[in-house]
């Protein structure tokens, strides 16, 4: 596996436009800056564009087996937070300009987008909580089949497998995407058929409650849709026209940049993390002149490709760790269904191998899930803060006529 897929596929792109939008370059220079501070302003904007591009170049240059992993998603949010901070500074330094038309409208649009992103953040927080539920079920599996907490050499017996299987069934139900839960429930009955003839009312309730449980874990109404939310964030997001760039002394460029970054980051989060009604049909029409367009478009393409892979098509999230959880639990489930007791040495070592893999996934989750949750919250806070600052400064100096 090539360590840097991205460099390979995009080498021609890195040369493109190591400068700002051409239109800016020509026209802003020609303009006898009426608002003042244009030179430093331009440098600021240019460095922002570069920073954004660098951040995403770095994200895009990870080997493909790290793409969409927990550490990668965390890096993505770091990049977002950096961009957001720099963007805030730019706005702050250009407060007078921000209040003038057409900047006021562009910035108001931007804040509208950010509010919509807040709901995505909350949905992602719920999704992380859900991953945590799966993690807990897998910990049961590990507890049943692992040997870490036993002081004596344990051999694996039927009891342990029954325990593990129970947790795996719960996990399989929990991981089903809502829309195909009915069909998959039938599938589960087939694959775990032998041990699932139980009709006890309490067990029935148990399984019903698992489905119910899922609806409990979302803090938004049932009609909320991540896909629609993403569309709303991206609504009317278009590269600024030349005259807009001129009229805003170039500021329209960072506003568009930040809007695109916001859309992409939210889209990638929805791609990775389970949430209600995921859907990735968002169009990115970023003109190639923008420095950061190539890494973002490339990442977009890669993630879309990932989502179309046969074994990922119905995944509840493209997060690498979810994939590994699914894989581990499926293999372990198959093993649990097929083993005979007493366990042959072959089988035993196979189980050991799977359990070891499971342990690794769980370690990764333990490491990164909580920091990710905190980061998502931080993104939420930053968005709120910058919007509040923006609205405040609007209110103070806004002339209605």
């Amino acid at each position: 596996m090539p360590a840097t897929d991205y460099q390979g596929t995009s080498s021609p792109l890195t040369n493109i436009g190591r400068s700002l939008l051409p239109v800016r370059r020509d026209q802003v220079h020609a303009m006898e800056s009426p608002i003042g501070g244009s030179a430093s302003n331009e440098a600021e904007i240019e460095s922002f564009q570069r920073r954004v591009a660098d951040g995403f170049h770095e994200l895009a240059s990870v080997p493909s087996d790290e793409l969409l992993s927990l550490p990668w998603v965390r890096k993505l949010l770091d990049v977002f937070l950096c961009c957001q901070e720099e963007f805030r500074v730019i706005l702050f330094n250009n407060i007078a300009l921000v209040k003038k038309s057409p900047m006021d409208r562009l910035i108001a649009d931007f804040y509208e987008r950010t509010v919509k992103a807040l709901d995505v953040c909350n949905a992602i927080r719920d999704g992380i909580e859900q991953i945590r539920q799966w993690q807990k079920l897998l910990e049961i599996v590990l507890c049943a089949l692992g040997d870490s907490n036993a002081g004596y050499q344990r051999s694996l017996g039927e009891g342990q497998f029954r325990r593990a299987r129970k947790a795996l069934i719960d996990l399989a139900i929990g991981m089903l995407d809502e829309k195909d839960s009915g069909q998959a429930l039938a599938h589960r009955n087939r694959s775990f058929g032998r041990h699932n003839t139980s009709g006890s009312h309490s067990k029935d309730h148990h399984h019903r409650s698992l489905g119910h449980f899922r609806s409990l874990s979302w803090s938004v109404s049932r009609s909320w849709s991540a896909a629609r939310q993403l569309q709303a964030i991206g609504n009317n997001l278009a590269a600024p026209r030349g005259n807009e760039v001129l009229a805003t002394n170039g500021l329209a460029v960072p506003v568009y940049t930040m809007g695109s970054v916001l859309l992409f980051v939210m889209w990638a989060l929805v791609a990775a993390i389970p949430c209600q009604d995921r859907g990735l049909q968002v169009h990115f029409n970023v003109p190639r002149q923008f420095l950061w367009s190539s890494p973002i478009l490339w990442l977009h393409e890669r993630i879309l490709e990932e989502s179309k892979k046969r074994d990922r098509k119905n995944a509840c999230g493209l997060l690498r760790e979810i994939y590994q959880m699914e894989k581990c639990s499926r293999l372990l489930g198959e093993l649990a269904d097929s083993v005979q007791f007493p366990l042959s040495e072959d089988k035993e070592s196979e189980v050991k191998q799977r359990v070891k893999e499971l342990e690794q996934v769980l370690d990764a989750l333990k490491e990164d899930l909580e920091p990710l949750e905190k980061q998502v919250r931080e993104v939420f806070h930053r968005i709120v803060r910058s919007r509040t600052e923006g609205l405040d400064s609007f209110a103070r100096g806004h002339n209605p006529e």
Binding site: G157, G159, R162, D170, H205, W224
Partner: protein
Amino acid sequence: MELPENLNKDSNGYESAEKIILRWDSTASEDARERMIFETDRQEADLYLQAVDEIQRSLSNVSISTSSNAGKNANAVDDQSKVNTTIQIAMARLEDEFRNILITHSSALETDSLFDPSSSSISTPSHHELEEDDTLSNDDSSHHDLLQLQLQLQHCESSDSSTYRSTSSIREVDLMPSEAICDLQAIAMRMISSGYLRECIQVYGSVRKSAIDSSFRKLGIEKLSIGDVQRLEWEALESKIRRWIRAAKVCVRILFASEKKLCEQIFECVGTDIDDACFMETVKGPAIQLFNFAEAISISRRSPEKLFKILDLHDALMDLLPDIEAVFDSKSSDSIRVQAAEILSRLAEAARGILSEFESAVLREPSRVPVPGGTIHPLTRYVMNYISLISDYKQTLIELIISKPSTGSRYSGDQTTPDMEFAELEGKTPLALHLIWIIVVLQFNLDGKSKHYRDASLAHLFIMNNVHYIVQKVKGSPELREMIGDDYLRKLTGKFRQAATSYQRATWVSVLYCLRDEGLHVSGSFSSGVSKSALRERFKTFNAMFEEVHRTQATWLIPDTQLREELRISISEKVIPAYRSFLGRFRSHIESGRHPENYIKYSVEDLETAVLDFFEGYPVSQHLRKRSQ
């Protein structure tokens, strides 16, 4: 001889224990699947628990023997596997029993009984009650709506506060009967000692979570996204905020507190932190869902009408915070405490933002159409009602408003912003300064509006009316009066007095000018000394001017009866004596000529009566009536 006997006894105990466990293996028999032990057979339940203990004991024996034989003994390995399987069967059974007991006793909290019944009948003031003395209807109806909104808010507040008594402090209720708790405890203990802690938490969390969910539904706590909240009409949100405040109190002080107690009752004796893990597993999601709404409100768009509900929300959360901290006191519930505190500070920030937004809205309120009759402008009413409501929230706002208003100096030289001298206002709280600033800004705006009157007298009357209204409103509220202070109040009083004087000057100087002596005496004519024609002309001019003033100013309006009375008296005091003496001096000159009634149309009494028509706001139907003839 003793040893084998012991072993024998052990294995007997084990076998009968195993028999009980296997009898209740729900994967094996129909009967075992259908029946729940703890539900149907008390005695059997106890036997079952003893059996589990027995198996656990032998599990530790087996593991000891296994480790001492270092795995050489195939029998021991077999035994171990067998015991493990039995344990698993027992644990699966116990898990089901545990779940079943939980479900049997998981009904939603009886929330109805938690509320004072009077809370359901919040009285909404009727329309005309809110109109006050405002007989004027003009195009600025939006102000009236807002005004009504404010008054409504005030109303609901006062009737709500009494109903919260039942939820004013943490009040745990028993969610389950003690027998059920005993059973759950017994099962939990065995699941945990067999290493099934995770399963136990899992089951506990999932059942209790759905119990909380149904309580939430009873309390009317909805799942609303930030987008939903942004889209809702403010009026709809207001009632949701009201409901949320009530629900949050029940949630934190009763629902969550009771859940916590239940966790402690079941798990506290079983092991450290297990109760806490179960509690968080149960309430984390619901708590987040609960706070999401308040958070959404705290970041919603700011506008003046939202201030008071935001303050209500702030106060409610502030009041709840110590209890939130008490209920969520563990390390693992850190995020919930933090979120509550964050929302609180955001609400405070929103209140501050709204206040400064209100200030600039008052400054820039753009309506230009002059209010007919020079009466009180809807803006004045709105602003004054608003700031007297602010004074009702004084306690909170004094804490929240910590910086002075952003006034003058920055804009000095700017014609669009008034100045304010802070020097004279030393020692005032920032909140008081903001209130004074709002009044300053309001007057500034009103001064601008007064310039749209064509008649200078009416402009003065307009200012007089409005500033007088401001003074009355301030005097009417002890809190407001205290904050504004008598010094500034005196300034305001001076201002409307000045406007009254300016009015009189503008209207009456020219009228009274007709009654002067100069110009009537004919110099050189020794016999009479008074020019009859000039005198006639004077009377005619006076009559015409007075009639005109009477006709127009009867339609002007001074809504305050006392002020109206005072101004009329003041007019009478100037006009009547002047007329009387003029009449006294010159009446004979007119009456000696032809048609005196053409020149002396009005008696002193006629004028006195006519002045009573002034500022009533009605057009006079006839010309000035001559009563004395």
